[in-house]
């Protein structure tokens, strides 16, 4: 076990597939875990039965379908259902890759800022494009809340514009920082167990506490893995709702 808690986030090149603009494009362990997540999701959603009375795996597939569908309906309304495949893909991708990441010795895809930022930027661009496509110039009403006194309106508009453009940043950093911090904490406590265990008998007794903490943190991380996927999804729905109904 590597003692350095940062080492688990290292990218390892598997093979290079080419170059774009002087940048080396490689398939890395991160890519492998992304593809693995896609494969697991596909297996879950397609490999299960279509019985009238569902089995366990079919129940999980249908549960995730209805969970995401009800999340969209409650936050973005029935109109938001046209983004159902996108939101479902986002939720399942983040949730499954996070859960895979909790397994020891695996890699967590969303512990890299560029991945979460890529996903957040995708949502941001869709909100922007769909917002203007559907509402035209009325989309700017998003920045002008109704019922605000005229003399502070310019200030409010500036704040709204800044907050709008910071959305992808907060959206992505939230997920990235949670996964990164959780995994570092987990690794630090786990390495205490290794270090204390190397001392001898006294160390074994002393290692009980960090071992227990590691187990507890793993359980917490499992919760965080799901929760952050849910938070990312519900924020996506809220931003999409802004695009569908720009008036506050």
């Amino acid at each position: 076990m590597a003692a350095d808690p940062i080492q688990q986030f290292a990218l390892k090149k598997i093979f290079t597939i080419g170059q774009i603009g002087g940048q080396e494009i490689a398939i890395t362990n991160s890519s492998a875990y992304m593809f693995l997540s896609v494969a697991v999701i596909s297996l879950l959603m397609l490999g299960t039965g279509r019985q009238l009375i569902p089995g366990r795996m079919q129940s999980v597939a249908e549960l995730s379908y209805e969970f995401v569908a009800s999340t969209i309906r409650s936050t973005a309304g029935a109109e938001g259902m046209k983004f159902f495949p996108l939101v479902f893909s986002l939720f399942m991708f983040i949730c499954i890759s996070n859960v895979i990441g909790v397994i020891p010795y695996t890699f967590t895809v969303s512990s890299h800022l560029i991945v979460t930022f890529g996903l957040a930027l995708l949502v941001f661009c869709i909100v922007l494009i769909y917002g203007f496509y559907k509402n035209g110039l009325k989309f700017f009403k998003l920045f002008v809340p109704s019922g605000v006194p005229l003399y502070i309106l310019p200030l409010v508009v500036v704040v709204e514009v800044i907050s709008f453009f910071l959305k992808p940043v907060s959206h992505s950093v939230r997920l990235f920082a949670n996964m990164l911090a959780g995994h570092i904490a987990l690794k630090v406590f786990a390495s205490f167990v290794g270090m204390l265990g190397a001392i001898g008998f006294v160390g074994w007794v002393g290692a009980i506490l960090p071992l227990g903490l590691t187990v507890a943190l793993t359980a917490l991380e499992l919760l965080v893995a799901f929760l952050q996927a849910y938070v990312f999804t519900i924020l996506t729905c809220i931003y999409l709702n802004d695009a569908i109904h720009p008036g506050h």
Partner: protein, 177 residues
């Protein structure tokens, strides 16, 4: 990218923080693009319609079953209602038949009684007539016998044959008195 990590590890210095190694960003974005587009296509084209159809089919099956159950319940209710009305109709019919029969029997016995009474009263009247004529005959006989007896008595007492006419009127007077 990995080369950087490699040289850093070889050099014995602390490797850079992996999430901030900008030279890996292009690779990760390309991988993410490939993975996410593949996932999106699988999810939107195959997985969601499939699972959605299963869920809708189940919903439809449940609703169909409930509707069928409701229909059967309605049918049984209607059958029960029909049975009850049939039963009531049969009962009233039976009562009507009973009343009719009773009436018919009453009328028949009444007619029979009347016929019998008529016959009896006719015979009674005949009998009374017979009695009256017999009595008349007897009375006239009595008159004759009384007159003869009176004649005989008078003849025996007086030795004279009385006048028939006077005897008859005397008998009549005594019969009347």
């Amino acid at each position: 990218m990995a080369t950087t990590a490699q040289t850093a590890a070889d050099g014995g210095q602390k490797p850079p923080f992996p999430p901030f190694q900008t030279e890996t960003y292009a690779s990760q974005l390309v991988s993410l693009l490939i993975a996410f587009v593949a996932l999106y296509l699988i999810v939107s084209r195959i997985a969601l319609p499939r699972v959605g159809k299963t869920i809708n089919d189940r919903q439809a099956a449940i609703e169909g079953d409930l509707a069928a159950a409701q229909r059967l319940k309605d049918e049984s209710d209607n059958a029960l209602k029909a049975y009850e009305s049939e039963l009531a109709a049969a009962r009233s019919r039976a009562q009507a038949i009973g009343a009719e029969t009773r009436e018919k029997l009453n009328a028949a016995s009444e007619a029979e009684r009347k016929a019998l009474e008529d016959k009896l009263s006719v015979r009674l009247a005949e009998a009374e007539k017979t009695i009256a004529s017999t009595r008349e005959t007897a009375m006239s006989n009595v008159r004759g016998i009384a007159a003869e007896a009176a004649t005989a008595i008078v003849q025996r007492l007086t030795g004279v044959v009385p006048d028939g006419k006077a005897v008859t009127s005397a008998v009549d007077a005594s019969l009347k008195g």
